[in-house]
């Protein structure tokens, strides 16, 4: 006899969607959360792409706790004293079904877990899962928690326990976890009156801005971001762990450097720090992904390294929601068929392979390494900014040198060979094409 049909560990976006799928199919589900409420342990930069919810929560935009709809998306290339921005704006992104949205994770995740409860899942907060229960054959049959009568058994366990996933590690599913696959995200949530944010960022009402920045991390491989919430601005950096450890600069000093840049400082001047926060990101993509299925257990969300850190695309919550939903559906099928072995649960991997979850990760599998490579991180921002500065500078009485000459001179000055440029251009086409 087992206690419940399914245990879902972690009430983040993956766990909540897994629990919704299972509970709606009529199964008994316990959704376990170590924080005092769903979302209380969760932090990200600030943008979510919720279209995957169309299936689970039709018209989700009418009720989701969204801060602003991203209608302006900027990409900024920065050096210590320069910045070149490509700025895109779309009115369509400010109307249903929208595109990206800024939201606080404690709000968003709490809301989503509420749907799991409404569907019939039992949400158990303030409960830390300390390990797996396994039978003599090694099959996962439940979890151990830090509650007094803490063991809980089930026919299937879905591990949505986040980036550090001790459950996936305990089950032996991780073979490639290495510091180089992780980045540290640190963020300041800075309070400003709404009308000031609207004026400084050129938006109105619920319109919002997403600025992604390269070259702003004081020489540590990574990137920066600025997102507008209703009455706060999220400013942060994402730092590759080995590169960060090798530097003498601490994370908050790197943020301070970015905030002092002339392209950033006027946007946040006078803002008051409301919250400082930090979280790890599994940026390695397909390279670091664990095995996703074992006897009696599935892994989804950050626990399965589902974050897509592909430079142009920086997504995670949508991959978590989708992988959680497909895990819940696959578990439902396995429970109906009476077989929750690895073979019985194989529908999960099939669903991921047929949808954007694994298709995007396979297509852009080379992107994380390219985006965090030394040339893309350090030499190209310098090259691009120098070319822009020379191009727009009126240097009278000197005659204009012409673009080809500027490019050749600045390429040499940045220490980029023609071969590097050709090779990286080809790599870029292969990676993103």
């Amino acid at each position: 006899m087992v206690d419940v049909d399914a245990i879902v560990v972690g009430a983040g976006p993956a766990g909540a969607c897994a629990a919704i799928a299972l509970a709606r199919a009529g199964h008994s589900v316990v959704l376990i959360e170590r924080g005092p409420f769903a979302g209380s342990k969760n932090m990200y930069g600030g943008v979510v792409y919720p279209r995957i919810l169309d299936r689970l929560i039709p018209n989700w935009w009418e009720e989701a706790p969204i801060q602003r709809w991203v209608t302006r998306r900027s990409t900024m290339v920065m050096t210590g004293t320069q910045a070149l921005t490509v700025d895109f704006r779309s009115d369509a992104w400010g109307q249903p079904p929208y595109n990206g949205a800024t939201a606080y994770r404690p709000d968003f995740d709490h809301w989503l877990a509420g749907h799991a409860e409404t569907a019939g899942a039992q949400l158990l907060t303030s409960t830390t899962v300390t390990g797996l229960l396994r039978d003599a054959d090694g099959r996962v049959v439940g979890v151990r928690t830090d509650r007094p009568d803490g063991d809980l058994t089930a026919r299937v366990v879905i591990a949505c326990d986040g980036v550090n996933s001790f459950l996936a590690k305990e089950a032996g599913l991780y073979h490639h976890a290495d510091a180089k696959h992780f980045t540290l995200g640190v963020k300041e949530t800075l309070a400003l009156p709404k009308h000031v944010i609207d004026e400084r960022f050129g938006v109105r009402g619920r319109e919002g801005v997403d600025i992604e920045i390269i070259g702003c991390t004081s020489g540590v491989n990574g990137g920066g971001f600025i997102y507008t919430n209703l009455d706060t601005v999220a400013v942060g950096v994402v730092l590759k762990l080995p590169a960060l450890a090798a530097q003498a600069l601490r994370p908050e000093e790197i943020i301070a450097g970015m905030k002092a840049h002339s392209a950033v400082a006027p946007l946040i001047e006078g803002a008051e720090l409301k919250e400082y926060s930090a979280h790890l990101i599994p940026e390695g993509g397909l390279t670091m992904m664990p095995e996703l299925v074992t006897d009696g257990m599935l892994v989804a969300g950050d626990a399965a390294a589902m974050c897509l850190a592909a430079g142009i695309w920086l997504e995670g919550v949508n991959f978590a929601m989708a992988s959680g939903m497909y895990a819940g559906e696959a578990a439902t099928g396995a429970l109906r068929g009476g077989d929750t072995s690895r073979a019985g649960l194989a529908g999960y991997t099939r669903r991921l392979a047929d949808t954007f979850v694994l298709r995007d990760h396979r297509k852009f599998r080379r992107a994380p390494e390219l985006v965090l490579s030394d040339r893309v991180q350090h030499r190209y921002p310098q090259l691009v900014a120098a070319v822009a500065e020379r191009m727009f500078r009126v240097d009278n009485p000197n005659p204009k040198p012409g673009l080809r000459r500027i490019l050749a001179q600045e390429r040499r000055r940045a220490g980029v060979s023609r071969r590097d440029l050709a090779r990286d251009g080809w790599a870029g086409l292969r990676t993103f094409g």
Binding site: Y104, P106, F182, L244, L249, A265, L273
Partner: protein, 107 residues
């Protein structure tokens, strides 16, 4: 342009909040048991001290006798320290008891 604005141009010292003020913006419900334990004797022969630089909460403090003191109370539970640590057995890492530790804010 006001004088105030002009003063800021070229000023490299942005008026930053102190690190303690920074950490005071974060809500913690601290449990009496330390969820992370650092064995300072293992750290004694480590020269790289990656944890000291990388921990976003600045919880690893080098001591004058060459060891490391770790304070668990204001921990983000992020996992950076055990990932960058290159000394087997130096850091014993687990999550805090249910309901305890860092609690990020709602809007």
């Amino acid at each position: 342009m006001s004088d105030d604005t002009d003063d800021r141009v070229g000023d490299e010292t942005w008026p930053e909040v102190s690190f303690q003020d920074r950490m005071d913006t974060v809500r913690f419900d601290v449990h009496e048991r330390a969820h992370i334990v650092v064995d300072g004797t293992v750290c004694a022969d480590c020269s790289s001290r990656d944890c000291v630089v990388a921990c976003p909460a600045n919880l690893f403090v080098p001591t004058s006798d060459g060891g490391i003191v770790f304070n668990y109370e204001q921990c983000f539970e992020c996992g950076t320290c055990y990932l960058v640590c290159n000394r087997e057995g130096a850091i014993s890492w687990s999550y805090p008891e249910g309901g305890h530790g860092v609690i990020f804010r709602k809007a």
